[in-house]
């Protein structure tokens, strides 16, 4: 199947600053694709070039078979957009915003009242935009991004500034968008968000894409280390652990062992060793690397810095 978004060799500069350089990737139909990286890495610039809000200096972009620069109005009929740091008129009511947005599209909008209900905004429909909480504003922006029943939805730093509870609620909403058969393109600097939400992610830094894949594949490729922490009073334990295939280090603090190794099979090997030697354990935990570790490895610094 043809990719929904094709980006090839895109470069965008602002004066002497190169915001995005030689960026190429594809987004497939029906997936949640995440562009992840620290603030200022070029995420928003890339997204806004794809949305047709900015023109790249070089490179080609095709979205739903359209050129986002020359066919921007045609494209906007078929996409839904949530922008970073967007606002609405302070005193516009929630239902008025939804009603206004519904009138902007050629194709018949979906039922605004139902949309507000799904997003938990029904009892806020008469509230002014300025009186909404951060989470409610974001949910309204999601409603506006979905009002034209788009094939492709863009979400830029959707949950930044929200508390963990609102964040989780919004993740569920985004999964719901995918379940309706739509494609989602999002940016985030939260690795947890990318890991839980995205089918595939592209890691971007200093305007360049470093790697693209499924989150677990990225972790497997760049951070093969596995760690098992367990507790046992068996005197044969330490010796047996050192014989596990792939083991790199065994450290012990009182009855607690930390066993480090690498490879997808390492945890299985540890379990195998325990059962073969009939070692009785009172605690067993695995510590697996995540996208945060991948980012640290690839860039040499944490995403928060």
């Amino acid at each position: 199947m043809r990719p929904v978004i094709q980006v090839s060799g895109v470069r965008k500069t602002y004066g002497p600053t190169v915001a995005v350089d030689e960026v190429s990737f594809e987004v497939n139909d029906g997936e949640i694709f995440g562009l992840i990286g620290p603030n200022g890495a070029g995420k928003t610039t890339t997204m806004e070039c794809i949305e047709g809000l900015r023109t790249p200096d070089r490179g080609t972009i095709t979205v739903l078979g359209l050129d986002p620069f020359r066919q921007v109005y045609k494209l906007q009929e078929r996409i839904g957009v949530q922008l970073q740091q967007a606002q609405l008129q302070k005193r516009i009511k929630v239902w008025e915003a939804v009603d206004l947005w519904a009138s902007l599209y050629r194709k018949k909008a979906i039922d605004g009242a139902r949309l507000l209900e799904q997003l938990g905004l029904t009892d806020k429909r008469d509230a002014w935009f300025m009186n909404l909480s951060g989470g409610q504003k974001q949910r309204l922006f999601i409603a506006l991004a979905l009002i034209n029943d788009p094939d492709l939805v863009f979400l830029d730093e959707l949950t930044t500034g929200l508390d963990p509870q609102s964040r989780r609620a919004i993740w569920d909403l985004v999964r719901g968008i995918r379940e309706r058969g739509k494609t989602v393109f999002l940016t985030t600097h939260l690795m947890e968000e990318a890991e839980r939400l995205c089918d595939r992610v592209a890691i971007i830094e200093h305007g360049r894409i470093i790697d693209i894949d499924k989150p677990e594949k990225l972790v497997g490729r760049h951070c093969p280390e596995r760690t098992v922490v367990l507790a046992t009073d068996d005197p044969r334990a330490e010796e047996s652990f050192r014989a596990i295939p792939g083991v790199e280090a065994v450290t012990r603090a009182d009855l607690r062992f930390t066993i480090r190794g690498r490879g997808d099979d390492f945890v299985t090997e540890v379990i195998h060793c325990l059962s073969e030697n009939r070692i009785r354990v009172t605690d067993f935990r695995t510590i697996l690397p995540n996208l945060e570790d991948v980012f640290l490895k690839l860039t040499g610094h944490s995403i928060r810095e």
């Binding site: 957009v81 609405l88 008025e96 599209y105």
Partner: protein, 250 residues
């Protein structure tokens, strides 16, 4: 269609405007109040005026009042566009099939309606204070004022396109608009100005607005002011084209 969403946007913007207590009060109620108070104070003296004073009260004052309302509308348009730009509202609207022209047109319609409403209230309030026998052609005058406002609004777009932040919008707009009144021929006839200033006056759009408004107020036929209307249309076309080129959405 280009105008998709125009009426809904216009309607929403009117409602939003009315929800802003100071905005509606300042733009509509305040001018009428000032006018009423001034009329009450001057009322007794209007019956036996000197010829010059009478001429200003009968023609100059209504024209000045109308122009101030129009300029007020322009300045508030400039401010709103700047606030919308700074807040990312323009950018959010742009990420829809809504055309830029539609957004501007909606705001222009709101401002024109505001101008017309304020003017209507002023006329109603002023009826008491006009000496008997003065019957300005109100319908034609309203049309003339709307044409003038439309043209002046286009200067407003241009200012709104260039002004960096909302904080500067009002002062810069005022700095550009108000001095124009001085050269517009309202207080001193253009013909009486020194030749150098004469040229300045001819180059300023407000001069044509004043000529049109004064003439129509005095009962001139429209045919006598084709040149003024044409000049205002040219100003509109030039400013609109320029601002479309330099307009910044964010």
């Amino acid at each position: 269609m280009m105008l998709r969403g125009l009426w809904k946007l216009t309607w929403v913007e009117i409602k939003i405007f009315l929800r802003e207590p100071m905005g509606a009060f300042g733009a509509i109620v305040l001018p009428v109040l000032v006018f009423l108070v001034a009329g009450r104070v001057a009322g007794g003296r209007l019956s036996t005026p000197s010829l010059a004073a009478s001429n200003f009260i009968h023609v100059g004052l209504p024209v000045l009042a109308s122009l101030l309302i129009a300029i007020n509308a322009v300045l508030s348009l400039v401010t709103i566009i700047c606030i919308y730009r700074e807040g990312g509202i323009l950018k959010r609207l742009r990420a829809t099939p809504l055309r830029p022209q539609t957004i501007l047109t909606a705001h222009v319609i709101v401002k024109l309606m505001l101008t017309a409403a304020t003017l209507a209230l002023l006329v109603l309030a002023g009826k008491r204070y006009y000496p008997v026998g003065v019957h300005p052609p109100l319908f034609s005058f309203t049309i003339a004022l709307l044409i003038s406002t439309w043209s002046i609004l286009s200067i407003g777009f241009l200012i709104a396109s260039i002004v960096p932040t909302a904080r500067f919008a009002q002062p810069i707009g005022g700095f550009i608009m108000y001095p124009m009144i001085g050269f517009s021929g309202l207080f001193v006839p253009v013909a009486a100005l020194p030749p150098a200033l004469h040229a300045v006056a001819r180059a300023l759009p407000l001069t044509y607005a004043v000529a049109l408004l004064q003439g129509v107020w005095n009962g001139d036929a429209w045919s006598a002011h084709v040149g003024d209307v044409a000049a205002l249309v040219v100003v509109f076309v030039v400013c609109t084209a320029l601002s479309a080129k330099v307009f910044r959405w964010e």
